[in-house]
């Protein structure tokens, strides 16, 4: 069995995308309206094109748009937010409605503001304040889009929920497991944000854009005359439309009556020598270079945030490179939780080039990742996703380094 140490348990057979329904992992349900697909519509070009493409295939559609965040919620941030390109704004909801009207299928807005705040926004802020660098999108996928929204889709009789993610899903006939694969268009691949999906969630979902490039998607949007065909992409986190996390966290914390500490703290180098002062840990993330507030003649980076001592530890680029990290909360997708170490290419942030590593399981949801080469800024709170080729074996959260 030694070859299993270096090879994932099962190789990926080239089976076509599953498009027929196969709910072997979901309880049978008499309420299903056969063939009905729910489309998660953000009002953007990607999810709108999903609707257009599925309709061309002759599928019956119902559109669902999530109301996630009240833009009036933190009025003090209003002045600084750009007027457009904001996700989850009322304008986006109207765009989704226009698309549904254009293609002529029923569309509904569902209110998940409470879920979103409890499961995405609050954890995001808490993680930030704990000195980690969280990814809200992964939580939103795992705990909102593919949880209450997927449940809503099934409740109203849809077989599946289709989304505009650039990734692929297929059933591996050999293992009987649902697998998540990267998008054909590597530059658009969003599988990094989807590692949290369970077998049941994957079985109930469809990613029709996984085989397409962004250009092909735009082309399809134009060909079907979608009213959003020329809409620009939203890049920022949807609830922080101006991208200013520090300002958002301060405002949100004030609203919760838990104002962030703006207590002065020390900025120290690796030896503990004080080389500067800061006004609140939440203003820093690991790997950050700019904005340290002083210059020492060579580029310095944030190495760690020491919450206990309210300290920011900085050092040069070389000191940011480490080889090992502990991963928690792992969700295994293509394989059962392994007992033995396995080889994988591991991605530690969205734009990171997956690097060769050995994943040593500690228990079902914990593992240690040892990279072949040191990696720059392995950041607590980000996801670590284990790939075998373009197949996602599983993923988890990068832990804070042990003191």
């Amino acid at each position: 069995m030694t070859n299993e140490l270096v090879q994932p348990a099962v190789s990926a057979p080239e089976t076509p995308l599953i498009t027929r329904s196969q709910f072997d992992t979901l309880p049978a349900c008499g309420a299903l309206q056969s063939g009905l697909v729910a489309v998660a519509m953000s009002g953007g070009v990607d999810s709108s094109t999903v609707a257009a493409l599925l309709q061309e295939q002759g599928r019956r559609l119902v559109g669902l748009t999530m109301q996630l965040w009240n833009q009036r919620r933190l009025p003090e941030l209003q002045g600084s937010a750009p007027a457009h390109h904001r996700c989850c704004s009322t304008d986006d909801v109207y765009d989704a409605k226009r698309v549904a009207q254009h293609l002529d299928f029923p569309h509904y807005v569902v209110n998940f503001e409470e879920y979103f705040e409890r499961r995405v926004v609050r954890p995001f802020v808490d993680q930030y304040l704990a000195g980690r660098t969280p990814i809200a999108c992964t939580n939103c996928n795992t705990n909102v889009k593919f949880e209450p929204l997927l449940r809503m889709a099934r409740q109203i009789g849809a077989e599946r929920l289709a989304t505009g993610h650039y990734a692929r899903i297929r059933k591996n006939q050999a293992t009987g497991r649902w697998e998540l694969l990267g998008a054909r268009d590597d530059s658009k691949d969003q599988s990094y944000f989807l590692w949290g999906l369970t077998q049941e969630q994957l079985a109930g979902s469809e990613f029709p854009l996984g085989e397409l490039s962004k250009d092909q998607v735009r082309e399809a949007a134009r060909r079907t005359n979608l009213p959003v065909a020329e809409k620009p992409e939203s890049m920022e986190l949807c609830f922080v439309p101006n991208g200013n996390y520090v300002q958002f966290i301060a405002a949100y914390s004030r609203e919760r009556n838990l104002p962030v500490s703006e207590q002065f703290g020390e900025i120290v180098d690796e030896t503990g020598t004080v080389i500067g002062r800061h006004t609140g840990l939440h203003q820093f993330t690991v790997g950050q270079r700019k904005g340290l507030g002083f210059a020492v003649g060579k580029p310095l980076y944030v190495l760690a945030l020491d919450r206990e001592n309210n300290r920011v530890v900085v050092g040069d680029d070389e000191a940011l490179r480490t080889s090992a990290s502990e991963i928690e909360g792992i969700n295994w997708i293509a394989i059962d939780s392994p007992k033995q170490p396995l080889r994988a290419r591991v991605k530690i942030r969205h734009k990171h080039n997956a690097a060769g590593a050995t994943v040593e399981p500690i228990d079902a949801t914990h593992a240690r990742v040892i990279f072949d080469q040191p990696q720059r800024a392995i950041t607590a709170g980000q996801g670590a996703v284990f790939y075998d080729g373009d197949r996602v074996l599983g993923g988890g959260w990068i832990c804070s380094p042990k003191p």
Binding site: C29, P106, V110, N111, R151, Q155, I156, G157
Partner: protein, 395 residues
Amino acid sequence: MNRVYLDYNATTPVDPAVLDAMLPYFSGDFGNASSIHTFGQRARSAVETARENVAGLFGARPQEIVFTSGGTEADNHAIFGIVEAASGSAKHVITTSIEHEAVLNPCQALEKRGTLVTYLSVDRDGLIDVDELRNVLAAHPETGLITVMHANNELGTVQRLEEIGQIAAEADVFFHTDAVQSVGKLSIDVNAQNIDLLSLSGHKLYAPKGIGALYIRGGTRLRQLLYGGHHQRGFRPGTENVAGIVGLGKAAQMAKSLLTDDAARISKLRDTLEQGLVERVPDAHVNASGAPRTPNTTNITFPGLEGEALVISLDLKGLACSTGAACSSGAVEPSHVLTAIGRCADEARASLRFSLGRPTTGSDIDFALRVVPAAVAQLRELSTAYQKTGASHDQ
């Protein structure tokens, strides 16, 4: 698809007779009611006839009616108009926790400007306690306005306006009521009930959207909301929406003659629906059933499901109803009314409002009695939470 509409509290269709009455005023008799010439005089005469009809619906005089763009403007005008006309700095407003946002949000805006607002609580049927009102009034001699809605949009609960009006009159405090959900459904008499200001909206009584009215008792000083020309004696500048006003007048006239028969027929259908659903759906219960209610409204909790999913499922099957109040995007916000009557968040989410109207027929109710129990059963099948509670009930 055959579609049945049971959401008349959200809006009503324009009655064909109302539409007929309005049509001449778009292109033929298109005059500006303020103009001296014959075109203007025809429009003026139509507006004044409408004013008489609206006033006649609740015992007011025509000159006490100001036409507005709808219920929201009427509520804003009444609340800001009274509070900001009052002299002196000590200001206090009494309202309830179950008002429509067109009253709640102006009150919150007043609070930001330094006015104290008391929100009266309600009992499990949605009724305020008049003794609490008396106590609050006694504790706040500086009170300038009491604003209590007549009928609640979500529950149908009807407040005892006569008693409230009596208390307000004795304390010499202005009394405003948002009667958007009751005008045309219940008989109202502004004099017998001591009402000083009353808001109504056209599209809840088979007139079009975009027209409403505010009744202002003669002699009441009100700061104006909008500044402009001298239309409507300066109370509400802006060229009159003649066709809309004519429609509202016709609708008011019809409501007056149909009110008693409508109420009897519609409440019978409502009771059939309500009893039928309670019999056919296990654990279903009616909210505010102990209070006097508008004849057309029923609000039912179906434990163990999400009302939002039920509304969508029913719409896909052709039945239109609602949960909570709709916001601009169409998303459902948790109901402040159901929480105010003591429902927990899960129960509030599991509640649906069916509201009937003049066009509702017995076969509409039969249709609802067929599709709702089936849809609830299907959703409950998917709800592990309900199955768990259900199991514990059996033990």
